[in-house]
Symmetry: none
Subunit: 223 residues, 4 copies
């Protein structure tokens, strides 16, 4: 009989199951609180494993969240690629941005995992994991950047990638401002802070439209 999670993961399938259980537990905890408030013991408990077992699958706490972020990023790039591929003709800027916004809107976890990605998760990980993550991401980013480039006739060589990196920058940069720490939360409620209360998706949408419009203007020769 197949059981949900085997006590000893002999086969690759069983190993994957445990690995997933850890990621699922970490994800659930991250949704509830944040990286800093999560400890490995809790992840292990949630995953139905011992603390030490977690370390058989992930070398550090950061690696767990790097993988989580990686999953989310890949998933996002998947749907982004599909959307870009399915569009037969050249897109309009608002269409593209609206689509990108929509895909992010559906992935609140990605939005929360991106800001700490470089600053926190990419510290304290093994070379192995770092390499795997970075190379995969590089390949995908390059590919998706290419698709974006094809989607807009005003984009020049390499600018598709620029656009994608800019999108990441917006998510990371405005994401941090949009999610204040507990102490700041109440400060941000004050009326004088109204102008600094940032809605990440609005900012993302607006800034991306402006950025793409700027690129179009610069690249389009005026006679």
């Amino acid at each position: 009989m197949s059981e949900l999670i085997a006590r000893r993961a002999v086969s690759t399938v069983q190993k994957e199951a445990k690995r997933d259980a850890i990621l699922i537990a970490a994800r659930a905890l991250f949704v509830e609180t944040g990286f800093g408030d999560i400890n490995i013991a809790e992840i292990a408990r949630r995953a139905g494993l011992a603390k030490g077992t977690v370390y058989l699958y992930f070398k550090t706490k950061e690696e767990i969240f790097l993988n989580l972020a990686s999953e989310e990023l890949n998933d996002w790039l998947d749907v982004l690629d599909n959307a870009l591929l399915s569009a037969e003709t050249t897109r309009s800027i608002p269409d593209f941005v609206g689509m990108a916004r929509h895909l992010l809107e559906e992935r609140p976890l990605l939005l929360r995992l991106m800001p700490p990605l470089h600053l926190v998760f990419e510290n304290n990980i093994s070379l192995d994991q770092a390499l795997r993550f970075k190379q995969l991401l590089a390949r995908r980013t390059q590919y998706t950047g290419g698709l974006i480039e094809k989607g807009f006739d005003f984009l020049e060589e390499g600018q598709g990638l620029d656009v994608l990196l800019n999108m990441q920058c917006l998510i990371v940069g405005f994401g941090q401002m949009a999610e204040p720490s507990p102490v700041l939360q109440e400060i941000m409620e004050r009326p004088e802070m109204a102008a600094f209360r940032i809605d990440l998706l609005d900012k993302f949408e607006h800034s991306l439209i402006v950025y793409l419009t700027g690129l179009k203007t610069i690249n389009t020769p005026q006679e």
Copy 2:
């Protein structure tokens, strides 16, 4: 005449001097390593003080670095304001961006303190400190945003602030990508990663030009 740091800081001036001594020690350590590798005991040793003394001036490690970042930010806004005020006429986009780039170029510490500012330093600080920091920053940002707005005739109401926030977003977002962790450093040296080696200032300059150009295009009615 300035005097050496008093053994006992009795006057307000002397207390400020001691406070500064702590910040200077923290700054020096931050230049050498990074936030994560620094502990309060080490800062105290550097500043020639006991750990408990540091605690009289700052409640947490984060508060120290928040104040450091605040100093750098204020200093940057100072020179930015001056530059904006001294320009008699409307600026060109490249002039403004070049100036902004130059002012950042002179402040490498600011560039390293900005990315962790919201994510790290703003956690674990007292409400008091958070309030002081945020309110000052809000006021200054609003003011500087106003100056930017006046500098460009194509900017509409409130867009000066948008520009400034966008600048911050670029510093934070690209700053994180530009400064890889030790493990990633060698990975980023590989040839296949060339496209992802980010020079913060180049990115900042280019993106800001594009963004401002976009704003100008959008705001300028075509007859």
Copy 3:
């Protein structure tokens, strides 16, 4: 114009006033909480003095409370002496014990200061203070013991002092059991603990009667 407490205590009178202010502050705080929860800064604040000033009058925190206990003890011995002296004839055991109980009942602070006296306050004090305290107490105890001895015709040489020491033992021993720590307080409320809820004064009264009766029995020859 005479002021309440002079800023600089030049005369002996002024010094005494400051000393008293410290003791009064310590007493008030002790009534509210307990030795462990009191810190010198708080005593100083209450007394309207700086922390360092407190140390001009008392070498350690324990010395303050030793003096407080000493005051209370001396006061108690004063009234005890008076009561013993005013009784013209030999007392009955219940009369004496009732009187002693009554005098304690009026001095709740003494009852709370006695248990920690030897264990806590007599540590960490200067030889000077220790000597002064012990010698005074020895003299007084010897004297009061003598008065007790005269009050009961069945007491033999030296047994008046024994009785007095026994009274102290009862206050200290049962006093500790009668005043449980915060954690224990709720435990002691449980029904199964009823037999162990100690009323110090009842215990004192009963045990002292039994003890004196025992002495009388032993000392009285049966023909």
Copy 4:
């Protein structure tokens, strides 16, 4: 055969052994110095463990010593119970007191642990530990009190427990007077202090005899 303490205490037995190792270390240190001079780091070092490991077994320093005192108390009550049970007939007061004295004489540590028990050890412990300790002690005290009651025909209902509590009071009360702090030690050597040099066991024995004699007298109706 008994085995050495395991590097890793996996079984319950091994855990008990490690727990004991900590208590043994604490006991040794207590014999050498006193509660105040002992810190958890030192106990850990003595037990050959890391500080954190001690923390796995005991939450606070007070808990360690509460358990030490509990062990000693239980051990004493064990032998007391046995002695009371083995006596076929009603005891004489001097026999009982002599026996009790003897059992205390063999337990110098108990005599030193009792005075700070309520005042010091019962602070800063978890509710859990407090409950366990108090309930066990209550049960045992009630039981031993009952045995004492049966041992003397003159004791009335509930007075066995009174006797036992009185014994504890004597140990605590005179114990504190018998063990002066270092500063007081030399003071107590002075000739004028001779009358106040207390030998705990002598005091215990004498007072207990007097107390029991008193109870007997009071309870025995004179025709």
